[in-house]
């Protein structure tokens, strides 16, 4: 489960970084940046739901809970 969360997080960073790249590279009126940011927020919300679900199923425990 830990690795699923990490893989999701890597994809989130990738989409954020690509949005930065498009912001630097593209001229005015391009929609590539906002599309990358839409991907970033969608993945983040999905990851949050996965964490809640994994916690509910008992697959992960928060830090400090033994």
């Amino acid at each position: 489960m830990k690795y699923v969360i990490l893989i999701f997080f890597i994809f989130i960073i990738y989409s954020l970084a690509s949005a930065l790249y498009y912001m630097m590279k593209d001229g005015e009126g391009s929609k590539r940046m906002v599309k990358a940011l839409t991907m970033r927020i969608s993945l983040s919300l999905l990851l949050f739901i996965i964490i809640i679900f994994a916690f509910w199923m008992g697959w992960i425990k928060p830090t400090g809970v033994v």
Binding site: L6, F9, I12, L16, P62
Partner: protein
């Protein structure tokens, strides 16, 4: 709005000297307060005030110049490049703190507990010490504020995560509205983002109050308290800055600035907010869960 062919250079500006005076006053005040001078803190506050005045004044002038059409594509590129360097410094800043957390959790604390080839170190220093994370049982508790408990993920942090992620969604909604030239939707999206940012900061303040008053979890609570407050505290500072930046962008949208073709100010602030959002997600995962 017409663009100039040459790189725009203003004829004269007093803002650099105002900024220099502010910085000199801030640093002289800081140095004086370290020496116990009564005037030190006053000079620091004055210097900080002058810097804030300079930032708003100078940025305001840049906004006016932009709206007057004095900037060309080359100026636009220089803004984008400066944003990239700013982001680079921010990434390095947070990488250092996340790195400190990673090093403490995975190396230094286990080593003190005898991991790897540190059996004799453990025996020699604190043989009763058990390497457990979060480290709230210090080897020598007399030197630290020993916490009764930590902040659990499934309380305010989870609500705060939802708050920030929702703010990312409302900002993206406003971003699409800007590209589709729907001005009311931009205003609604930005206002919702700002409100969610303020709710996040209020809940964070509540959490800090709870940690300090009831849990004895403080900045002085050893490596756990230090990394926890450094990471979440600096993140909170970034949310505060981001909220101020969003308020400025909202004011500009209300005044009719930006259009689907020309809106770098909006893009820069939007990306910054998404970055702060991802840093929080990283904090939520690495501090509270993994």
């Amino acid at each position: 709005m017409q663009s100039h062919n040459q790189y725009f250079v203003p004829h004269g500006s007093y803002w650099p000297i105002v900024g220099s005076v502010g910085m000199a006053s801030l640093l002289a005040g800081f140095a004086s307060s370290l020496h116990g001078s009564a005037l030190g803190s006053g000079a620091m506050v004055l210097g900080f005030g002058i810097i804030i005045f300079m930032v708003f004044g100078w940025m305001g002038q840049v906004v006016h110049e932009s709206e007057a059409g004095t900037y060309n594509k080359q100026v636009d590129r220089s803004f984008r490049m400066s944003m990239a360097w700013f982001i680079f410094s921010e990434v390095m800043f947070f990488a250092a703190f996340f790195g400190a957390l990673f090093y403490a959790r995975n190396f230094s604390v286990p080593w003190l507990g005898g991991a790897s080839n540190n059996f004799f170190t453990h025996q020699e220093l604190w043989s009763d010490f058990k390497a457990v994370w979060p480290l709230i049982q210090m080897p020598d508790p007399s030197k630290f504020s020993v916490p009764k408990d930590i902040i659990h993920a499934w309380e305010i942090p989870a609500i705060n995560t939802l708050c920030l992620l929702t703010s990312g969604a409302t900002l993206t909604w406003a971003h699409w509205a800007l590209l589709n030239n729907k001005r009311n939707q931009i205003i609604a999206g930005l206002a919702a983002t700002i409100i969610l940012g303020i709710i996040f900061l209020s809940l964070q303040a509540l959490e800090y109050g709870e940690a300090y008053k009831h849990l004895d979890l403080k900045l002085s609570s050893g490596i756990y308290g230090s990394t926890f407050f450094m990471l979440t505290g600096f993140h909170g500072l970034h949310v505060t800055l981001g909220t101020i930046m969003l308020i400025v962008i909202l004011m500009r949208v209300i005044r009719g600035h930006f259009n689907p073709e020309n809106h770098f100010g909006f893009e820069g602030v939007a990306w910054y907010w998404h970055f702060v959002d991802v840093v929080w997600l990283g904090l939520f995962i690495f501090v509270y869960w993994l």
